[in-house]
């Protein structure tokens, strides 16, 4: 049963394999292979008929994202069978036709790359057993049809038409998505077989909501009024694509969904009247415009619209009376419309024009095509013994009880008859036009259309054998289809339509000169709306001055407004009681004051260096606050990070040329007074808001009986570490730490990436996309200049005197004394780090501290000896490799207990007696991993930021 899944995905997978396969075979052989493959899928699908006859449907289901109700399920019954047979059958003919339609192999390859996934997407729509899967296929058809319509993207009309089609069908897709989700919620399942058996949906309170939304989706897709105009706009697609979009796919998706849901959503005033009215308007608009078009493709597009309107009218009828006729109509329309489009493609190819006024008398030069056109045109006109006739009879029979609809449909049938005759006569009959110079068309081009036209005839003649069982599978009732069922009422109306059509055809020269009132067309309205949106967009863009600070000011002001309106109103229960414990709070207040004063100084100082140093002092005083809490672990890390942060800032400052730094520093108070006041106001607003928030949070802080108490009591017993904070970091919240250390190393690698020049050719995924779409040439090849600029070994770059480059202030740090001190400090730093590693669990300090301490030693080396020497010195360390080893060690250590049957991150104690009171446990391994990661990260960052070479401006 999973064969059906393979059938629906096979075309897309084949498209993926194209680059590999096409290397070895010519485009003809490849095209024939594809056509054969699609035909095989067609036959494979036929093998499911016995099961469908027996059980009614084939349903397969596999959970995909159960939380969202998303399953990979397939639902194949008579209706999906009809559609998928059309998709595959007509698709095979399109594939065949394309081989000869596209002159160059490259276009053909590109076309197949789009056409085959499109086929798959369409199959997903009709075979999906879940409305969400159906929706995914639906959207894919919208997107891929956009690419197909804009296939000749250098042509402006193609781009505009494609965009218009995408906006209309995509917009409808949004409505459909909401509608389907509501429908699924109302039905209690997203599965199609549960939805279409749920008879209570009509009484659901949301009925009007989801039905309207689904109808909008279907109407946009199936080009119903008032969304019909995208379809003629989309005719700039290559003709085989148009033929496919108009006959078996795309516009038929909407019809499919309406048909599919009509048993459960139909028989209500909304459904009946909505579909009927929209359908009838569409019928008339399509028929009238089709006759006024001289462009063959445009005329066919409007004829499609009219025909789709007819199908919608049929689906609107109560008790599913019209479904039988609709099913026949869908098939008949697909067959003749594809053949007609493909014929137009050949005529265009041969005569170089699609203008009916310039064409005529082609029958002599293109006899085969004339036969195809006559068969398909007569089927369209509804002349026996073609399938179109059966469809029209069925249509009229279904509408006998609805006089208005009948009248409209008979009139439009007359139009269609006239159009069929005009198509046959004005292109192939009559006198040859003088200015015509015909190119020969390849013989192979005729195969597909001939087969399709032949099918129109064959299905008409072989009606009882070929069509009746299929329709029976769809409607599950006795089906009597006959080419001629006596001189009854339907036949009479049919005669009227033909007679009227002949009348319109004969008088065509007269009425074609009539002027129609010039109403705004759908396209004009659409363009008006687009223009309006664009001008509003232009207006909005004017607010985007490009200066980041103004954006930030706007964002922060909005935050203040939000705070004042929504946020602070909810803050309750903060008390202003002022408890003061002199023993500790005096010290705290002093440190806080020091911190705030230093922060203020960092604002006021013009010099970056001074500002950075005062910020460092501020950080140290925060460390002091931590220390008197007493929280020695945090204080230690705060001191460490503060130090390395300040060092990093200073090294970074040295990398900016002094000219630019001076400029930036001088700009400090240049700001206008208004700007300054604005900034102060924003800062005050944010400060007040946050202060109030903090106050509320502090007043309502968690009660002593928190998990912290549990941690305090169980740390030593469970982790074997007296330092509870360390135990939490390494064990209780060990996963946090793994993530933290990963983020930290990614940040370090990020700094390296930011300061490196990117390689020009990203191999994945652009390379793959190129291979598929054949756009390789657009992207340039990488050249030698594009190698990573940083951190290449750079030994002879700088003169001895200036280890930091010509104008760096860091040079002054390099004195004989500092050099000696640095040489002593580096090994000491590593010693201290080791001590932290081994005994960290018993007091403040851990792997992170160890990493930062040794990292500080490294950083000092970079400052004092300069980049060249430090790079030579630490290249052996392999900083980036250290990061990898460290993270791998941490993860391996966390996963190792699983081998012994413990959970992930379980604490293990290795009872190995070691000298010097060293305690070996999984915590120790963990800390070692963190140490390596941090050391590697800091060295990487130093190396990237200290790299003195100027990078070329972009």
């Amino acid at each position: 049963m999973f064969g059906i899944g393979i059938i629906s995905l096979a075309p897309a997978i084949t498209a993926l394999l194209r680059p590999a396969v096409r290397k070895f075979i010519s485009k003809e052989i490849y095209g024939w292979m594809l056509a054969t493959l699609v035909s095989i899928l067609f036959v494979w699908l036929l093998t499911f008929i016995p099961t469908i006859n027996e059980v009614g449907h084939v349903a397969v289901s596999m959970p995909w994202v159960p939380q969202l109700g998303l399953t990979l399920s397939i639902y194949l019954d008579g209706l999906s069978l009809l559609f998928s047979l059309m998709i595959l059958g007509i698709g095979a003919m399109i594939v065949l036709y394309s081989i000869y339609y596209f002159d160059d192999a490259k276009s053909l390859d590109r076309f197949y790359t789009l056409l085959l996934p499109f086929m798959s997407a369409m199959l997903i729509v009709v075979l999906a057993g879940n409305v969400l899967t159906l929706f995914i296929g639906w959207e894919l058809t919208s997107v891929i049809s956009f690419l197909l319509v804009s296939f000749n993207g250098e042509n402006e009309a193609a781009r505009k038409g494609a965009l218009q089609a995408l906006i209309i069908t995509g917009g409808g897709g949004l409505a459909l998505m909401v509608g389907l989700v509501l429908l699924g919620t109302a039905a209690g399942s997203m599965e199609i077989n549960q939805i279409i058996t749920n008879t209570s949906l009509r009484d659901n309170p949301w009925y009007i909501g989801f039905t309207t939304l689904i109808l909008i989706g279907c109407f946009t897709k199936s080009a119903q009024f008032p969304f019909h105009f995208w379809l003629p706009g989309a005719m700039s697609a290559p003709t085989p694509a148009s033929a496919y979009l108009h006959s078996a796919t795309m516009v038929k998706a909407g019809i499919y969904l309406l048909f599919r849901l009509s048993p459960v959503l139909g028989d209500t005033p909304l459904w009946e009247n909505g579909l009927l009215i929209i359908g009838l308007i569409t019928v008339l608009i399509g028929a009238a415009f089709a006759l006024r078009q001289y462009d063959l493709k445009g005329a066919l597009a409007y004829a499609t619209i009219s025909q789709l309107g007819v199908l919608v009218v049929l689906i609107s009828l109560p008790h599913g009376e019209g479904l039988k006729a609709a099913a026949v109509g869908i098939l008949a329309h697909g067959l003749y419309k594809a053949a007609l489009f493909l014929t137009v493609g050949a005529v265009d190819h041969s005569a170089g024009t699609r203008d009916m006024k310039k064409l005529g008398g082609l029958a002599r030069q293109m006899p085969g095509w004339a036969v195809v056109a006559v068969l398909a045109g007569l089927s369209m006109a509804g002349i026996p013994p073609l399938l179109g006739f059966v469809a029209k009879e069925g249509l009229i029979e279904s509408l006998l009880t609805t006089p208005i609809a009948l009248a409209v449909v008979v009139v439009s049938a007359a139009f269609t008859v006239a159009f069929g005759f005009i198509f046959i006569w004005d292109v192939f009959g009559g006198k040859a036009s003088h200015s015509q110079h015909l190119h020969a068309t390849p013989q192979g081009l005729l195969i597909g259309p001939a087969a399709l036209a032949g099918m129109s005839l064959l299905t008409g003649i072989g009606l009882p054998v070929l069509i009746t069982p299929l329709i029976h599978m769809i409607t599950h009732e006795e089906v009597h289809l006959a080419l001629f069922s006596g001189f009854n009422t339907p036949f009479l109306f049919s005669l009227i339509a033909v007679a009227g059509g002949v009348g319109i055809f004969v008088t065509r020269t007269t009425w074609r000169q009539w002027a129609l009132p010039s109403l705004p067309t759908g396209t004009q309205i659409y363009q008006g709306v687009v223009q309006r949106v664009e001008s509003v967009g232009d207006l909005l863009l004017k607010t985007q001055g490009g200066k980041l600070r103004y954006y930030l000011a706007v964002i922060l002001s909005s935050v203040i407004v939000l705070q004042a309106t929504a946020g602070l109103a909810h803050l309750t229960g903060y008390s202003l009681t002022f408890e003061f414990h002199p023993s500790i709070d005096i010290l705290r207040s002093i440190l806080l004051l020091l911190c705030l004063g230093m922060m203020l100084a960092s604002i006021l100082f013009k010099s970056h260096l001074l500002a950075g140093l005062s910020l460092g002092v501020a950080g140290y005083s925060v460390g002091g606050i931590f220390l008197i809490e007493p929280a020695p672990d945090v204080a230690l890390v705060q001191f460490m990070v503060e130090t390395i942060g300040t060092v990093l800032l200073i090294v970074m400052l040295a990398r900016i040329r002094s000219v630019e730094r001076q400029q930036a520093m001088d700009s400090l108070w240049i700001q206008s007074k208004a700007g300054l006041i604005r900034d102060i106001l924003i800062a005050t607003g944010i400060g007040v808001g946050v202060g109030l928030f903090v106050l509320a949070a502090l007043t309502n802080r968690p009660q002593p009986k928190s998990i912290a108490t549990w941690h305090l009591e169980h740390a030593e017993e469970l982790v074997g570490v007296p330092d509870v904070v360390g135990a939490i970091v390494t064990d209780f919240r060990g996963m946090d730490t793994i993530i933290e250390i990963t983020v930290f190393s990614v940040a370090a690698l990020g700094v390296l990436t930011i300061l490196s020049k990117p390689p020009a050719s990203a191999r994945w995924p652009v390379g793959i996309a190129n291979a598929i779409t054949g756009f390789q040439k657009t992207f340039r090849k990488p050249s030698d200049e594009d190698e990573y600029a940083v951190p290449a070994p750079y030994v002879d770059y700088l003169p001895e005197k200036h280890p930091h480059g010509e104008d760096s202030f860091l040079t002054s740090f390099s004195t004989p004394l500092t050099r000696v001190v640095t040489r002593i400090i580096l090994p000491l730093a590593f010693l201290v780090a080791l001590a932290h590693l081994f005994y960290g669990g018993e007091g403040p300090g851990d792997g992170f501290t160890a990493g930062v301490v040794s990292g500080l030693g490294v950083a000092l080396w970079y400052i004092v000896f300069g980049y060249n020497d430090a790079h030579k010195q630490f290249a052996r360390l392999g900083a980036r490799r250290l990061i990898g080893i460290g993270v791998a060690l941490v993860i391996a250590n966390a996963a190792f207990p699983m081998l012994l049957g413990h959970p992930f991150l379980a604490h293990l104690n290795f009872d190995i007696p070691l000298p010097a009171n060293i305690h070996l446990s999984s915590t120790f391994v963990y800390e070692t991993g963190i140490f390596l990661t941090v050391l590697g990260s800091i060295t990487t960052v130093m190396e990237a930021i200290a790299y003195p070479k100027e990078v070329e401006p972009l």
Binding site: G546, C595, S706, T709, P722, V751, I945
Partner: protein, 112 residues
């Protein structure tokens, strides 16, 4: 005591925001750093209880210790904010090298 921390955090946020809005990129980065510090301090203050001794197992039964959980959280926060700060400095360094300016007002290519 709550009021003291609330006022301090509020002022720090005001300082940080003001720094953030400077045209000098280095000052902007310092603004971020002030904000990081303020947040860490807030985390610290919001602990469940204050104590008289460090959170070591040998102190637990004798006196109230400081809240170990917030401390562990701050440790993570400090490390992450340092990583972010490093990235910021890298960005400044890169744009100063590539665009030849450290003044945000000279970078106006984000124009709509």
């Amino acid at each position: 005591m709550n009021i003291l921390f609330a006022i301090a955090t509020g002022i720090m946020f005001a300082f940080g925001t003001f720094q953030l809005l400077r045209s000098d990129m280095v000052k902007s980065a310092m603004g971020f750093y002030i904000l990081f510090t303020a947040v860490n301090l807030f985390f610290f203050a919001v602990g469940a209880f204050n104590g008289q001794a460090p959170a070591y197992a040998q102190n637990v039964d004798k006196v109230t210790t400081s809240d170990p959980l917030v401390q562990a959280l701050i440790l993570t926060a400090i490390v992450i904010s340092f990583g972010t700060y490093a990235i910021l400095l890298g960005l400044i360094s890169a744009s100063a090298r590539r665009y030849k300016t450290a003044d945000l007002d000279n970078l106006d290519q984000l124009k709509g």
